[in-house]
Symmetry: C2
Subunit: 620 residues, 2 copies
């Protein structure tokens, strides 16, 4: 296999203050592609089992993919891997914007951060140069001020920055990493950065990303844009409404959970719909690093009332779900303020909103009282609570200290049956798609390698819409595993290429393959990509098994398993998880009883070292 592109890795040891450059093996790229799967194998190899995610032993692996920073549509994302302080398990998190392409234009495909700095630092990369700089003055700044300060400190307005806010500094287990106003939100990567005293990574890259066959690449990219333009729902929907476009369908289908997942949909949802939002608040369409033309993100501004003057990008569907539907808040401006504050303080909006919703239900049920909440009445719908609680979470101040634990640990601490409605899987709060209304979703959350994320083990949005189109079949448990499996594998390649899911859905497997081959000079086949996707699934699974995960961990809150949805078109529905899991394990090559990847499966994929590890786990 011949190709001309050297893939560079930067390794920064914060304890030693050492910076080393090396090259990523061609063999690794052949077998693991890039982005997510390549990061998976690095994370697996680099970390010892059972380490504390907030200790210097954890690592942060910032990765790009073979298409990052090229002209391919949606190629502006980066991925960060670590062991999650939220789940204690495997974690990856992606974000769009400009940071990923800039890193690749600086010449690096991957940056590994290890150890812990003695004092706050930030890493500054300018093409091949990298150095650690004092972050003393920035420690404590919000993510927007941090980015401005660093640009001024480096006297370079074009530098792109991924950073943490106070939440990450204070080791909140669902703290996000923020670049521009975009979050690598899920899993607590921000907390890992904070634990390492790493405030930010600033990158400036002025090289052009090398393409092995520029002519072929140009042609296939042109075809890719045509394909996207031909998909009207995507090409017209995203520029107008971003991810919020599907909310009416999801709400009416009982997929959007309200009042901490008690209700399926709400007749007040219209206040959170995209049209209201676009008409009243959207000021500008925002896109990731060119060449993306979907502009799915929006700069919004609140002009009136108590939230006047608040500006943010978003909220996306997930944030309208977490602070809106879950907290029963139907004041769009309040959701916008909550979103803005999470971005500034560096918090994952889903986990933050869901933890607050959980607290609201605890308060409603008398499990917590005003003695616990600094005297506040934590009631569903009280939108004025959101900014106060978010601030307290980021600083772990007073009642915020409890909330900062997230719903899982909070429920363990509170007891009194609260575990039943702590809406998480493996400690990660669930995305805004109720599996009781589209059963294949149960597997995304229950078996997803990073916990209860809507993208973790499939693609909740796509799956929801597909299931909704089948009418009442969506309530069947049988035969649903295959849906999740196919979405999961497809996503694995998207996250490794790395291509954004939004344009990705409009591209044929042939187009994606041709882009990858033309860009890299490799000669993968469609089957190769399928095998790479499977490798990713197995490595992530094995990472978690090594940490102790077994079948019993692949579960969902009691509310989903045994408590019917109270209202809406999914009323009365529950999930029969065992049936679903049996099918899914079968398709995944995992042992039905233990959930451990079968040794045969691993060996067929060439994952011999991992097979050995799993053998040990089986014996335990």
């Amino acid at each position: 296999m011949i190709h001309s592109i050297q893939r560079k890795l930067l390794r920064v040891d914060l304890t030693e203050r050492s910076i080393q450059r090396s090259v990523i093996d061609d063999e690794d790229v052949t077998i693991f592609l890039g982005g997510r799967v390549l990061g998976d194998i690095y994370l697996y190899r680099e970390l010892l089992p059972s380490i504390d995610p907030l200790s210097p032993e954890n690592q942060l692996i910032f990765g790009t993919g073979p298409l990052t920073g090229t002209s391919a549509p949606g190629s502006s994302r980066y991925i960060v891997h670590a062991k999650s302080p939220q789940t204690g398990l495997y974690m990856n998190s992606l974000a769009g914007g400009y940071f990923g392409p800039e890193l690749r234009k600086a010449g690096f495909d991957m940056v590994i951060i290890q150890g812990k700095a003695e004092k706050p630092v930030y890493l500054s990369i300018s093409n091949d140069n990298a150095e650690l700089k004092d972050a003393g003055p920035i420690w404590g700044m919000d993510t927007q001020d941090t980015q401005q300060f660093i640009k001024s400190d480096l006297q370079d307005d074009k530098v792109r920055i991924a950073c943490i806010g106070p939440a990450g500094e204070n080791l909140v287990c669902y703290a996000a990493i923020i670049s521009e106003r975009r979050a690598a939100g899920r899993g607590g990567g921000g907390g890992v950065m904070g634990s390492k005293n790493l405030k930010a990574i600033a990158v400036r890259g002025t090289n052009k990303v090398q393409i092995a066959d520029p002519e072929a690449f140009k042609n296939v990219v042109k075809r890719a844009y045509k394909d996207i333009a031909a998909n009207e729902a995507v090409a017209k929907g995203f520029p107008l409404y971003g991810t919020l476009m599907a909310m009416p369908t999801l709400n009416d289908g009982g997929i959007t959970p309200w009042r901490n997942w008690q209700n399926g949909g709400s007749d007040k949802a219209v206040n959170l719909y995209a049209q209201t939002w676009r008409d009243e608040y959207v000021k500008k369409d925002v896109r990731c690093s060119p060449p993306c033309n979907l502009k799915c993100s929006k700069l919004v501004l609140s002009r009136e009332g108590p939230h006047a003057g608040v500006l943010t990008e978003g909220p996306d569907y997930e944030t309208e779900y977490s602070f809106g539907a879950s907290c029963n808040v139907t004041d769009q401006a309040a959701v916008i303020e909550a979103d803005a504050l999470c971005d500034k303080l560096g918090l994952d909006t889903i986990s933050t909103g869901l933890t607050i919703a959980f607290a609201m239900e605890c308060y409603e049920k008398g499990i917590i009282t005003s003695n616990d909440t600094d005297g506040e009445e934590i009631l569903f719908g009280r939108s004025e609570l959101l900014p106060k609680l978010i601030h307290k979470i980021a600083y772990r101040r007073n009642f915020g200290a409890l909330l900062s634990l997230g719903s899982k640990r909070m429920s363990e601490k509170l007891g009194k049956g609260s575990e039943a409605f702590a809406m998480h899987a493996k400690g990660m709060e669930l995305g805004g798609y109720d599996p009781r209304g589209a059963k294949s979703l149960a597997l995304i959350y229950a078996c997803g390698s990073r916990g209860g994320c809507h993208k973790s083990g499939g693609a909740a949005n796509g799956q929801s819409l597909r299931e909704l189109s089948t009418g009442t079949d969506r309530f069947l448990n049988q035969g649903k595993a295959a849906i999740t499996q196919s979405f999961r594998d497809s996503r694995m390649i998207a996250d490794s290429a790395i291509l954004c899911a939004f344009p990705y859905g409009s591209l044929s497997p042939e187009t994606i393959l041709s882009m990858l081959n033309a860009a890299t000079g490799f000669h993968w086949s469609k089957e190769d990509l399928q095998i790479i996707a499977e490798r990713g699934n197995q490595i992530e699974r094995a990472f978690n098994v090594r940490e102790g995960l077994r079948r019993a961990w692949d579960t969902l809150p009691d509310r989903i398993l045994n408590e019917g949805v109270k209202t809406g078109s999914t009323a009365g529905q529950t999930v029969d998880l065992d049936v679903l899991i049996d099918d899914f394990y079968e398709l995944s090559g995992w042992d039905l009883k233990t959930g451990i990847p079968k040794l045969d499966t691993l060996k067929k994929l060439g994952l011999h070292m991992i097979a050995k590890d799993m053998e040990m786990c089986i014996k335990e």
Copy 2:
């Protein structure tokens, strides 16, 4: 008189959407120098008397001086003239930073804005090019987001912007104009911009400012820096503590007013002192456009408690006085948050803080009740009120609608004796120096052309320190007019050159003169400058007389005239204003009875047109 520098004027008529370039007459520059005095004569000539300050008939004149954008120390300021919506009288306001030098490097010495745009616009100037651009999407943004948005809109991170926030848009009569985090704060220029639907002026200038005699200029500038370095209090004090450095002296001297000017100094003042501030909050010294090396401004960050995450530049002494001392708030972090919010929403911190302090006293005395205040207890010392009230003022929301009137109009509305402690002169809230403790200050406020500003008719800081150094003499009324007069004239030249007052105080008149002559190629003498200063005094006075001002308007709140200071080293002191004013009028060449400039005075200064106008006024 021979010189080589053409001074350009840009005139923008927002109603007509027309943009014209012209040249400022040499004769005008000879007679009126630049900056403040030149702006004075333009304002006088351009405006008709009795116009509504918020009507299209008002103008905004953005001006620079002959030294702006050169290498002279402290030469980074611009000045804006208008008729003030706060006082209904003459207004100028200055700010440092980068906007002034950038405007001059773009080639313009003055920009006149007239009329009113149909819809929100901003003016974009790039060297000789100027155009009006749509400000629809930015309308409603705070000043920091506005600047970021415009940089992104123009795809130029180096552009410098003067803009308004929501307060200006909502025509608050004490709304500020903000560039970076600096305010042209006093007098309501932000409201005038808002009334014209002008959100911002963005400037990019890449020319070098022309110097008539570069060699001579270089030499005198070198000498100027030496003189500043030799003044230890300035050269060491400002970089460490900014304007806050004098607070201990002022507080102990009973000059800093507490509890809405009831008390002189406080033993809690130490919480607001510069050392506390520097140790706990200051993260970075900030300077204006190079070459200033005093770095008197500070980037501060609050890291703990309910105000954690707040970042701002400041607060300066005036803001510690207004939100701290006047409101009896001794929580430094609360003052920092109030300062940050005023900058973002575009409000003058002095007027905002003093209006709130006035409301606190009204509440204490039962003149307003919780029925007026949206149920809040508006008590001295309640720091948690500040952000809420500031937000309501900027949006004129609920109780904020009353507060947005400022203390004068509020007291007129409320009555019940509240006028006696509404701490303003001519509608402008007083700066933080109590004339009861240093009597020359009374004239600054009572006779200052823009109202109760501490820089309006002299220099309150310098005068306070000079008077304090004289011991008990400071309580005498007699013989104080000359102090105010000399500070006023000196300031007039500083504001016209334009040079910042902080380095300016260390420069000899010869140095200043040499810099002006070398820069311009003019041959002014020291006497010429003195005459120019006097012209400024008379033009500003005449402007106000034309608007109806007579001697009776030159007054101070009853609290200063008749109510002794309650506590501290100035306890019992009041001001005998009539004695002071008699002396001051005499020195100013104003008629003792009416306060109108004497015709002789005007004619001697060559102000014949103005003399005619004053003749009319005398006859009325």
